[in-house]
């Protein structure tokens, strides 16, 4: 059986990153629907341990690309090494998780292969022989069905949470790790990455908060944050925010919730004037109860909310604070 699906396994310092498991689950799913096999590929320097861990997954084999030039991630190195692997193996689909690293090199790889890259998909479905990929457009206001044309391998990346990491099937026994040699020239790797660092220690740890009141663009002006603070006080909540609020300096960066900020899972998440673009949703969709107040009834935040109010937060929040105080003191 041909192994027509190849999954890219991302790792950081020899540790497989969480989205990789989701990509593996997606790859297994896709291979099953196509009646084909799935392989995993890992790039790096001294990747034997990572490859061994991947070999416990129910895949046909693990391809290990080992080169000192891949010791640190670079778009030039990764795209060229994977291009050589794909050219040799000719998979029909190359599956990724839509991480920052993948965003950095997968479009380059697709261009080098003259292939298509369907990025940031939510899932796919099979209609007869055709595969239709589902992705969001207009910041999640609409979904789009995307078909891939042309010959050659297609690249596809899935958004965080599209497939469950715990649905990855493990194999009965470890599969074979095949070393794949690649030829890389040091002068072709033009970027020099430095050490990874964190700006400052996260002062506020929102991940442990039981209740979070989060605020977005709908708050309109920084002076209106006073209202949000009052609601948070009444609820005994921490304050969080969507990216534009922190970008604008209205609240410090450590209050940011979403893909570039913190990932939270409180008992109650109150979203005030947050449209809920996917970058925000990935940071809060684990919340148990979500209350969203937004004037746009099409706002994607309502897709992940338990309770919704389509309306003006400046009208709803003041009586809401009063009612909460009544219940709490009563």
């Amino acid at each position: 059986m041909a192994n027509d699906v190849l999954v890219f396994a991302e790792h950081q310092g020899g540790k497989i990153v969480r989205p990789t498991w989701e990509a593996l689950a997606a790859g297994q799913h896709l291979a099953q629907d196509l009646g084909t096999g799935v392989s995993a590929v890992v790039l790096g320097a001294k990747v034997a341990d990572v490859a061994r861990e991947l070999a416990t997954v129910d895949v046909a084999d693990v391809l290990a690309v080992d080169s000192p030039l891949l010791a640190e991630y670079t778009a030039d190195g990764y795209a060229e090494a994977l291009r050589q692997v794909v050219t040799e193996r000719q998979p029909r689909f190359l599956v990724f998780s839509h991480t920052y690293q993948v965003r950095d090199f997968a479009p380059k790889l697709a261009a080098a292969l003259k292939s298509s890259f369907v990025s940031d998909c939510l899932g796919y479905r099979k209609e007869g022989d055709r595969l239709i990929f589902l992705r969001q457009v207009f910041q999640g206001k609409f979904n789009a069905d995307v078909e891939v044309g042309g010959e050659g391998p297609a690249l596809v990346s899935f958004q965080a949470g599209s497939f469950r990491e715990d649905s990855v099937r493990r194999g009965a026994a470890a599969v074979k790790v095949n070393a794949v040699p690649v030829t890389l020239a040091p002068e072709k790797i033009r970027t020099k990455p430095g050490e990874r660092f964190r700006e400052a220690k996260q002062a506020v740890d929102l991940t442990q908060a039981e209740i979070i009141v989060a605020v977005g663009r709908g708050i309109k002006a920084p002076e209106n944050l006073e209202l949000v603070k009052k609601l948070a006080e009444a609820l005994g909540a921490e304050i969080g925010a969507s990216r534009p609020i922190c970008d604008g300096g209205w609240l410090p960066m450590d209050r940011q919730i979403g893909s570039s900020g913190q990932t939270v899972a409180p008992k109650l998440y109150v979203a005030l004037g947050i449209s809920g673009a996917i970058q925000h949703q990935v940071g809060m969709k684990g919340s148990r109860t979500v209350l969203a107040i937004n004037k746009d009834k099409e706002a994607p935040i309502f897709e992940v909310s338990t309770y919704g109010v389509v309306g003006d937060l400046f009208e709803i929040v003041p009586p809401l604070i009063e009612e909460i105080k009544k219940v709490k003191t009563g």
Partner: protein, 256 residues
């Protein structure tokens, strides 16, 4: 060189077209793609510091002139407007190919783009453009330092991590939103922009054939997403809504 595009305004009420293949583009307002505004601001600041020229490269129909004029009013020097009926509905590969043809002749020192568009959201055009032009690139950039022919940039990684990356010029960077505080156009800028050149480029001028622009991925259908969770909506006066919400939070969700 700043690549920017025009997209439907954030607060526009979007409706699907009759065929369900895209949105109705009539009757809605368009604006400059927000991430691109940060890229433009970065370019203007680099010009103020190091000299040179800021050129806009924009692919889109006649309406995109508005976005170009806004950029010129903020301080860009001139613009390339890639405008041809054949450019409608291109995928990221097609847009990047057309732009690469326009930029080959320009030989810019640095190309900046927004990190993604607010409509398609591919987050690919910039990176593909770099590959087609044979340039090094880096994405999701939060800080740019230029020293001679070398570039040092701070790239954002996930969950609050960053990394400095060095590369030679010429290069391409995709800029993270929030890297700077974008300026507004001044009245003087708006007046000055009226005499700034906008060069229109068609497929013929760029030497592109229909086969070059053939779609590699096609949007077959666009539709309103089916909700995964069932949201319970509340209507009424603000006071009624507040009372019922608190009742739900206390007795159903049990969080009060």
């Amino acid at each position: 060189m700043v690549c920017l595009k025009q997209v439907p305004a954030r607060d526009a009420v979007l409706r699907l077209n009759a065929a369900g293949t895209w949105i109705q583009e009539t009757d809605i307002n368009f604006e400059v793609n927000e991430p691109d505004i940060y890229a433009l601001e970065e370019a203007l600041r680099l010009k103020e510091k190091h000299g040179g020229e800021v050129v806009i490269c924009c692919l889109g129909p006649a309406r995109a002139q508005q976005a170009i004029k806004e950029a010129l009013a903020k301080g860009a020097d001139r613009a390339l407007h890639l405008d041809d009926p054949a450019f409608q509905g291109l995928d990221a590969q097609g847009v990047a190919l057309a732009m690469s043809r326009a930029l080959e002749k320009e030989k810019p020192d640095l190309i900046v783009t927004g990190l993604q568009s607010d409509d398609f959201g591919y987050a690919q055009t910039g990176v593909i453009l770099a590959e087609l032009l044979g340039l090094p690139h880096s994405t999701i950039i939060m800080e740019i330092q230029v020293t001679g022919q070398a570039l040092k940039v701070r790239r954002e990684l996930e969950a609050g991590w960053f990394q400095w990356i060095e590369m030679p010029l010429p290069a391409l960077l995709t800029i993270q939103s929030g890297i700077n505080k974008p300026r507004y156009a001044t009245l003087k800028g708006i007046m000055a922009s009226k005499s700034k050149p906008i060069q229109k480029l068609t497929t013929a001028a760029l030497g592109l054939t229909p086969a070059d622009l053939a779609l590699r991925q096609k949007i077959a259908k666009v539709y309103v997403p089916v909700k995964q969770t069932k949201t319970e909506f509340f209507e009424g006066s603000p006071k009624e809504i507040a009372a019922r919400l608190v009742d739900k939070l206390k007795n159903e969700a049990r969080v009060l």
